[in-house]
Symmetry: C3
């Protein structure tokens, strides 16, 4: 129930982030809808494909895609307002990151409890949409070059695996992993955490 | 039968468009073949993956890939001629768009008659190849930023869903959806239809 | 056994090539690991998806992903050394190309002995990782615009198909195809083989 709400918060936040990017790139209404949709639901679609779950839930369970499309449409209509609410959006995005990572990891575990697969699918569910958004916008995916973002999803998915492996029931494991991932992301934003680079920034 | 012919017209038109792009980007023969192939058959491959139909028909039913490869090879050889036949190619492309959207929507409906899935798969079958072409060419996918193109595929796939849902037999539904999609695209070209943008072009 | 060793050589060489690219693009540690991982294992993942083999072996059979991650981590730590060993790396890369093409073609043949599918899957297994690497780095995939690289994989996969089709047992077919592909690639490097282009380089 908490996770369900967090999932919708994530879909809305991701759809807004995707459609804002489309607007900035000068795309038309359709491009903006596609970008919002892909950012919100693309990670889950890739995860389902990797797990052999076809057709993907995000395309057949209507409330999710409808939420993404309506959020993108509202962003398109009121984009000047959304351009000024960066901060609250970042929190919503962190909540979505945690919810997506926890749901993805849980789904993967129930199909094949291989540790790497669970961590991978949790992370792909969480950040895959953002990667698609940046590829379609002809940019290097942000998650690969900035900040403690995907790392939070990887740590959160790892925690999910450990909890479930240790026999924590299939509810607390999701909630704990969701909260830890989102908190990690929020703390990382507040503290400006960064991962090391091989070459220093110019 | 009509659809089968339209499908081949689409494969040829899409393969030419893909290999022309490869030629313009200075790719070698292989890159040009890959681009022609992906543009012509990539949408159908993604659609099959999303529907769990593996291996994808476009890779196992030989006449389709052979048509794409031969078309790309001919484009490579006579590229100067093809550079000057833009207009007829646009019509062939519109016919392909309609044929691909109708076949994709029909396949999706027979696997899972969820409205969004049918519309999505129809559209992906029609425009997915063009998106791959532009990603491989390091450009923002044209279908996301220009013209009434993907929109025609979305409308055509929606019409397919409605017709089939209303009980129109599995033949007229395809033909009508194919013709409507192609006509919409051609009219849109003639009339310079465009979708609204949030930010006006500079 | 020989193939298994060649496979690991390939994973290591591809992971180094991916993480070097990430380092050059100024990515942080995570981006570098993701790029190394995708380059080494992405081709096999796509091949498994196209064949309906989910979840993909590269994500569930731990030694492969661990090899990729450790290679990327070592590249990150000692990147200055790796920047100066271009030549041995090219040989390792050629060995990987052959090993991946032969394994991919063999897997495809055992699922569906359609000639085009076998050639396609062998080639995708061999060069798919490099294409993902370049897409994530916002560049036109090198394999599409330069050198006799993917062509070696295509020829090698074709040879695999012919050998197996002619009844050569499921061991020599792999070894011969592996050696021919790697040799073709190495000879092509030595001889500067190139494919024709429609437009001459400026």
């Amino acid at each position: 129930m908490i996770l369900e709400i967090a999932n919708y918060i994530g879909i809305i936040a991701f759809a807004i982030s995707g459609s804002m990017k489309g607007i900035k790139k000068g795309m038309d209404l359709l491009g903006i809808l596609v970008l919002g949709f892909s950012t919100a639901l693309g990670g889950g679609v890739i995860a389902d494909l990797l797990l052999g779950k076809t057709p993907p839930t995000n395309l057949t369970y209507l409330p999710y895609p409808l939420t993404a499309l309506i959020s993108s449409l509202i962003t398109f209509t009121f984009y000047k307002i959304f351009a000024n609410v960066g901060k609250p959006l970042l929190y919503a995005d962190a909540i979505g990151l945690g919810a997506f990572a926890a749901s993805g990891a849980s789904l993967a575990y129930s199909i094949d409890p291989s540790p790497l697969l669970v961590i991978m699918i949790g992370s792909v569910t969480a950040v895959g949409g953002g990667v698609i958004r940046d590829l379609l916008s002809n940019e290097i995916p942000l998650v690969l070059s900035r900040e403690f973002y995907a790392t939070a999803a990887i740590l959160g998915s790892s925690i999910y695996f450990i909890l479930r492996f240790e026999g924590i029931s299939n509810y607390y494991d999701i909630i704990i992993s969701f909260i830890v991932t989102s908190l990690l992301r929020i703390i990382a934003m507040k503290m400006n955490w960064e991962l090391p680079k091989a070459i220093k920034n110019k």
